[in-house]
């Protein structure tokens, strides 16, 4: 199919008459649905809501730090802002974002199944999320939370005068939503694959979600019990973490980070999965080193469980323990780097097109690289003492979580938006937004590396005047970033109703999810597909309409042009 013929075919593209969005109507058909695609949309609305709540808190922080003495907030309110920013973004946006929205939508489609293994448990997980969210929102409006998102004891259990208990209960509850999601994915990937879809034919999106699910089911219960104990300590006077009773606050930190470090991989692994889908599709080339990327995902999940103490190098842990954890921290850089090298090697000699998802994938690689390398600074014992608890740390994890996870999330959202809604987003507006996001992000967070290295501590509501120039840059960047987030919210919503009809496989891409109409029917596939091809293989797929080997005149169908 040449571009010309695509052009002439365009009017022929029509929305399927019956699909999962119009199969049934009414609010009950959504709130009681067991269709994984509809549950994914429920999650999409929920996490977007929390993303903008968290974003509001972030804007408050950045506006306040415009001047050295602080512009807007009292010291106490400032503490509440950065705490609630962290809680909203980590527990209610980043952790569920890609798995619960895109994983939910795509895993059954990618493996050729009609649904997840446990559709009702899937719906239950969303309700659990909503209940947890209600508790946390209650905490936010009834005095807020000022302990930092880490809930360190004994501040959270004894001394804080803010609404800690409802927030702890909320985060405790939302953990079970992620346990249920992880459990569902693991069982689904094990038992529901279509005929011919062997483990090494799985898309890497599925592999990374498998690794993520392992982290979810092994880590989340530990933070659940830890927060349960901290909550009971605050409410009923249990004493495990209270030094006044002989308890040990460091024990809390160990238990908390045993989950919360691997939680970083819950955020980044799915984004790596998205990137592994985007790069081959828009480079028109089989992914370089498929097996290594799959194995690297599992390696990250395993090693990720063995490095939590690097958050605690200055708490007085034994030097020998610190040495071991420092070494293991360096070790986790290897599988991460394997992935980056493989993505870049895939690009080599590829027929690259700069569609919006690809721009996000490029953004992901670059920003994740910076975030990952600065992580090594923090993982080495000597430098960590200098820069721990400074803005260097803040910049580092925002490069991973925003530059990595959110870029992956938005890239995936654009890539699969035609599959989710059946319609294309406006391509040029989307490209401009992606560039605005990239610029705004770097302007916000790169100055924070310098601030941290110069010694500005995190979580303070005032700072010495010599740091102002970097703080002004950072606040200016945050304003640009906000525009970069609002634009997709608007045009994606618009395009869901008025965008150009996309057709089943607009890019075209190789995965099974593109073999079914967009939007897919409720049962996903008319007949169970049989997989006879290797992953990301463009050469042996005449059904894609590509005239392979690669001809540079063949470009994907773009949104509006």
């Amino acid at each position: 199919m040449s571009p010309t013929s695509t052009q002439t075919n365009k009017p022929a593209l029509q929305m399927p008459t019956k699909h999962y969005l119009n199969a049934t109507y009414g609010i009950r058909s959504w709130l009681l649905t067991t269709d994984h695609k509809r549950i994914a949309l429920l999650y999409l609305i929920s996490v977007t809501f929390f993303f903008f709540i968290g974003g509001f808190f972030a804007m408050m922080i950045r506006l306040h730090l415009l001047t050295p003495a602080g512009l807007l907030l009292s010291a106490d309110t400032y503490n509440r802002m950065f705490t609630m920013h962290g809680v909203a973004m980590i527990f209610f946006f980043l952790i569920p974002s890609i798995p619960a929205v895109m994983g939910n939508f795509l895993i059954p489609l990618m493996i050729g199944a009609k649904d997840l293994a446990f559709p009702k448990i899937n719906l239950l997980s969303w309700y659990v999320y909503v209940v947890g969210a209600a508790f946390t929102l209650y905490s936010m409006v009834s005095g807020g939370l000022d302990t930092g998102w880490t809930f360190y004891t004994p501040l959270s259990t004894v001394y804080s005068n803010s609404a800690v208990a409802p927030a702890v209960i909320g985060v405790f509850i939302v953990g079970f939503s992620s346990i249920l999601t992880g459990l569902n994915f693991l069982v689904t990937i094990h038992t529901m694959r279509a005929p011919g879809l062997t483990w090494f034919r799985l898309p890497l999106f599925v592999w990374t979600h498998y690794a993520t699910s392992v982290v979810m089911i092994l880590g989340t219960p530990v933070v659940a019990i830890t927060l349960a104990l901290a909550g009971m300590e605050r409410l009923f006077g249990l004493g495990f973490f209270n030094p006044a009773m002989g308890g040990d606050p460091i024990l809390f930190q160990h238990l908390f980070w045993f989950y919360s470090h691997p939680a970083v991989y819950i955020m980044i692994l799915p984004a790596m999965g998205v990137t592994s889908e985007l790069i081959p599709t828009f480079a028109r080339k089989q992914l370089f080193g498929y097996h290594f990327v799959a194995a690297a995902s599992m390696a990250i999940a395993v090693i990720g469980f063995l490095i939590w103490t690097h958050h605690m190098f200055v708490t007085g842990v034994s030097t020998y323990a610190a040495l071991a954890f420092s070494f293991l921290t360096f070790l986790v850089a290897i599988p991460s780097a394997v992935k980056v090298f493989n993505w870049v090697a895939t690009l080599y000699g590829g027929s690259i097109s700069f569609d919006t998802p690809m721009l996000y994938a490029f953004g992901f690689i670059g920003l994740f690289l910076i975030g990952g390398l600065t992580g090594l600074f923090l993982g080495s014992l000597g430098t960590d003492i200098h820069i721990h608890d400074t803005y260097f740390v803040v910049a580092h994890f925002h490069y991973i979580m925003v530059g990595g996870a959110v870029m992956g999330y938005l890239g995936g959202l654009h890539f699969w938006w035609p599959k989710i809604t059946g319609r294309m987003y406006p391509e040029w507006l989307a490209r401009i937004s992606a560039v605005i996001l990239f610029v705004g992000f770097n302007l916000t967070f790169f100055p924070q590396f310098l601030l941290g290295y110069l010694g500005m501590p995190r979580r303070y509501h005032v700072y010495p005047p010599e740091f102002q120039v970097y703080n002004v840059m950072s606040t200016a960047g945050a304003s640009i970033l906000a525009i970069g987030y609002l634009l997709p919210l608007l045009y994606l919503t618009w395009s869901a109703f008025y965008g150009r009809v996309a057709g089943p496989n607009p890019w075209p891409a190789t995965g099974l999810e593109w073999q079914t109409p967009s939007p897919p029917p409720t049962e996903n596939f008319e007949t169970t597909p049989v997989v006879t091809w290797e992953p990301y293989d463009f050469y042996h797929r005449p059904d894609l309409g590509l005239d392979m080997p690669v001809d540079s005149s063949l470009r994907p169908v773009h949104g509006d042009d």
Binding site: M192, P221, G237
Partner: protein, 245 residues
Amino acid sequence: MHRTGELYGQFKTLEQQKDTASLGMWIFLVTEVMFFGGIMLAYTVNRHAYFHAFAMGSNTLDLRLGGFNTAVLIGSSFTMAMAVWSAQSGKKKLLSLFLVLTIFLGFVFLGVKYIEYAQKFNHHLVPGRNFDITYCVNNPSKCEDLKPEELAVEREEIAQAVAADPDLNSHAQLYYSAYFGMTGLHALHMVIGAGLLFWLLRESFAGRFSPQWNTPVDVVGLYWHFVDIVWIYLFPLLYLIDRHK
């Protein structure tokens, strides 16, 4: 869940459906191991730090009630295993009988637990402002359920222990934090398990289980055995710390 042997839409065969259910339960049990693992770590760290206080705290527990409850739970695991066997071999009446027995033993356990909790409450052994590990030895009239000769032994032990460590009372609260935290979570799991068993019983009375389709009995059985195994660990960890004298 579903009517007899019916296949859910997302599966191709009953075999696949059954595999999925038991794999799901096993993975859930892995999360439960991590869940109890967290509090057992907290227990271990504190027991290591304050062994004496933990030993004293352990000695205030009633070994007879704890031992009785252990026997009750092992018995309930047996009746549960028999229920699974009955379901697999299509003995519908026996299945109902064994489910009733399992529920009964579960409630015996919870009843004994209630007696123990009430006793600890009356003896000022609940962590908080009024916690006092010496309460019974100083006020024997308020603890008439304890035997005087046992109290005399305890008085001596506690006098020595407090002399050696003035913070013993405070640290014994950590023991009781572990006791109530661990047994409380375990009891909560028992209550959930009892609810599941009642549901199985209703389905069993309706005659829904057959040799071809008994997955719910199977997976609830796994859960029930897991909860029993947790108690098999909790009993020595909490009751038997310092009983060798």
